[in-house]
């Protein structure tokens, strides 16, 4: 079932269309939600499942809010997932301060970031062939948006080593790195 047919089915609250949408997009939304609901913060796979189910429930209840003129259903679901995950994070950690990066997920990306999007498939394929723990460090940095200090805590490596490996990766993967991450290093 292609996206146009799924969207038509979603409008009609068609069970098959929703089942298909969940089947097609949940893997993507899983990683999107995991960016905000990290294991180190006490979140589990059940929280991610609940978050994504809430996303589809929102779509079920308010499908008119999705406007195909503004982008793909996939993109809309990613935005919705980020919002749901951030809300869940806030509720679970009332005392924690939500980082600026978390809040940025609600914003429209700059033209520079939009251009960066082109690079991610190649970036993934470049990273996936690297040995551990470099691969994990880069995955956490580039795909989970984690800071070196967070990565150090989660990989139990010294922060300096994390920074060194990120720096060396920048050198070796310079052609694949999105601009904003080159600048961040």
């Amino acid at each position: 079932m292609d996206e146009a047919r799924i969207i038509k089915g979603l409008r009609a609250r068609d069970e098959i269309a929703f089942a298909q949408a969940i089947s097609s997009y949940s893997r993507l939304l899983w990683v999107v939600a995991s960016r905000h609901l990290a294991k180190a913060d006490g979140f589990t796979g059940h929280d991610i499942e609940e978050c994504i189910a809430d996303v589809f429930l929102d779509l079920w209840l308010n499908n008119e809010r999705y406007d195909p003129e503004k982008g793909s259903l996939k993109s809309y679901l990613c935005v919705l997932t980020s919002r749901k995950a951030i809300s869940r994070y806030r509720r679970a950690a009332q005392t924690k301060v939500v980082s600026f990066e978390d809040l940025r997920q609600d914003e429209e990306p700059s033209s520079e970031e939009a251009a960066d999007v082109e690079d991610y498939g190649d970036l993934y394929r470049a990273i996936v062939h690297l040995p551990e723990p470099t691969r994990e460090i880069l995955v956490r940095r580039y795909f989970y948006n984690q800071q070196p200090a967070e990565i150090a805590a989660r990989t139990q490596l010294p922060k300096k080593e994390v920074e060194n490996r990120l720096y060396r990766a920048k050198q070796s993967l310079s052609s694949s790195l999105p601009t904003r991450y080159k600048e961040a290093l």
């Binding site: 069970e15 098959i16 949940s26 429930l57 503004k70 982008g71 793909s72 690079d119 498939g121």
Partner: protein
């Protein structure tokens, strides 16, 4: 403002799963759980909407018999009542959510079964175990229950639990069914089973009785190198006796046995029972009780312990040099049936040259349960209303495994399809059913291999019950069964 494109959108499902492994590993069961949670939430919303609509209708009715001035405070009170009703429903959501998830987990994606589920919530305790019948659903032909068993006092229940004996009785005889373990929670030591019972009708008052279950599987696989087969045969070659078929036939056979035109019912002679008892090193659940060689075949008889936890022992031969395994040509039960219904002896027959026996040793495989728990856990309840079902009488002829048979009727519900046909249908024959919707889309119930098919063959009438959830029952246009179109 346009929706921003997330960089992750460019990755394939495999790549996303690889990324997920770094935070929250992702598997197909997570996707199923999301489907289940979604179905549960939509069902809950439907209940809330219905409650709100009912209250709105009450408000409208009340308002029509009052003046405008009088209606206002009344409306406010009813709105409060409506909000309270919604709150009560939401409080109850956790247990309902669990039940819907279970149905979804078992019946798979796509079905809107949740709205038909009746919560039972009745429990009984015995032997330190609590049994609770959580819920039931019925489609006229089949009743499905979810039952939880919790060990409240010990640590006797594990994730391999199985129900040994259960029954569902009513004012008239009820048919059989099956049970399946669908979940286990180690924190609460709770096993969840799905029970499928045939022929209980909506509104029947029935008594569900659980009387035995088992847990704690131990598996074994023993290559008996210490037993010299040619020597054992030379010293103990046994005699054959006429087989007593009064107790019925149990056993198994290879494809070759079947292709050679054989039938277990036609086996006339078996080894004499208990000519000797040779212990199997490392196995106290079975022993060798006779052996002989005749007509190019090695016959080996095993005796088995009558302990009900002793679930199964299988015998094969294994080549001591190459490790190649030789499975039996056929096996056949003998002797008495134990309490568990299994024969207390099993004779294994191998096609093997006598001179090759020295190259092989016996390979014993099996498993048993360390916990066998008997008791009486009984719960009475009323079989819920039948869910929406399409019943269609059909006179078409359908080709089933090369044989034309008359299709008598089909029944469709959100739980699956029941097909009744008359003719010479082989046991194990396959049905390929496409459900075609009004918009032309097709839902194949056999393509994903999830179907559970119960085939009840009697008097040349065959009933196939295919447990496979059907989404959008109200939009089904027609079926295609093994290439034949069936209009509904």
């Amino acid at each position: 403002m346009n929706y921003p494109i997330d960089p992750l959108e460019q990755l394939s499902n495999e790549e996303l799963e690889s990324l997920a492994a770094y935070e929250h590993p992702l598997s197909d069961s997570n996707i199923q759980n999301i489907q289940g949670r979604f179905v549960a939430k939509t069902a809950e919303c439907a209940q809330v909407e219905e409650a709100a609509q009912a209250e709105s209708a009450a408000i409208a009715t009340a308002a029509t018999v009052r003046t405008g001035r009088q209606a206002k405070p009344r409306r406010r009170l009813l709105m409060v009542a409506a909000i309270a009703a919604v709150f009560v429903l939401l409080v109850g959501f956790t247990s309902a959510n669990r039940i819907y998830e279970l149905y979804y987990q078992y019946f798979g994606e796509g079905a809107n079964i949740a709205k038909y589920v009746s919560e039972i919530g009745q429990s009984a305790s015995d032997q330190g175990f609590k049994m609770e019948v959580l819920s039931a659903v019925n489609d006229g032909e089949n009743t499905y229950l979810f039952v939880e068993v919790t060990d409240e006092t010990g640590d006797r229940l594990s994730d391999d639990a199985t129900i040994n004996r259960w029954s569902m009785t009513g004012s008239r005889p009820l048919g059989g069914g099956g049970s399946t373990l669908v979940g286990y929670d180690p924190a609460t030591k709770t096993a969840t089973f799905m029970i499928h019972s045939i022929s209980a009708k909506p509104g029947d008052s029935v008594l569900f009785t659980l009387s035995s279950f088992m847990s704690g599987v131990v598996e074994y696989r023993i290559a008996a190198n210490d037993i010299n087969i040619p020597q054992l045969l030379a010293e103990n070659e046994g005699d054959f006796v006429k087989r007593n078929t009064l107790e019925g036939t149990s056993g198994g056979f290879s494809t070759k046995f079947y292709e050679d035109g054989n039938d277990l019912d036609k086996v006339k002679e078996i080894l004499e029972l208990d000519a000797f008892a040779l212990a199997i090193p490392g196995c106290d659940k079975a022993w060798i009780s006779n052996i002989a060689y005749r007509d190019g075949k090695l016959h080996v008889q095993l005796g088995r312990d009558s302990d009900r936890g002793n679930a199964a022992t299988w015998l094969a031969l294994v080549n001591k040099r190459t490790g190649e395994e030789l499975q039996s040509y056929y096996s056949i039960g003998a002797g008495q049936r134990n309490e568990d219904g299994l024969a207390d002896h099993e004779e294994y027959v191998f096609e093997i040259a006598r001179e090759a026996l020295g190259e092989y040793c016996f390979l014993f495989e099996g498993f048993y349960y360390t916990q066998v728990i008997d008791g009486v856990w009984e719960v009475g309840f009323e079989v819920p209303e039948r869910m929406d079902t399409i019943i269609k009488k059909v006179g078409a002829t359908v080709n089933v495994s090369g044989t034309p048979v008359k299709l008598e009727s089909v029944e469709l519900s959100s739980l699956g399809i029941t097909v009744r046909m008359q003719g010479a249908v082989k046991v194990g024959a396959e049905l390929d059913i496409d459900v075609v919707y009004e918009d032309g889309s097709v839902y194949s119930i056999t393509e994903e291999g999830m179907s559970v098919i119960f085939q009840d063959a009697g008097a040349n009438t065959h009933t196939f019950t295919i447990v496979r959830p059907l989404p959008g029952l109200e939009r089904v246009d027609h079926l295609i069964i093994n290439g034949t179109r069936i209009d509904l």
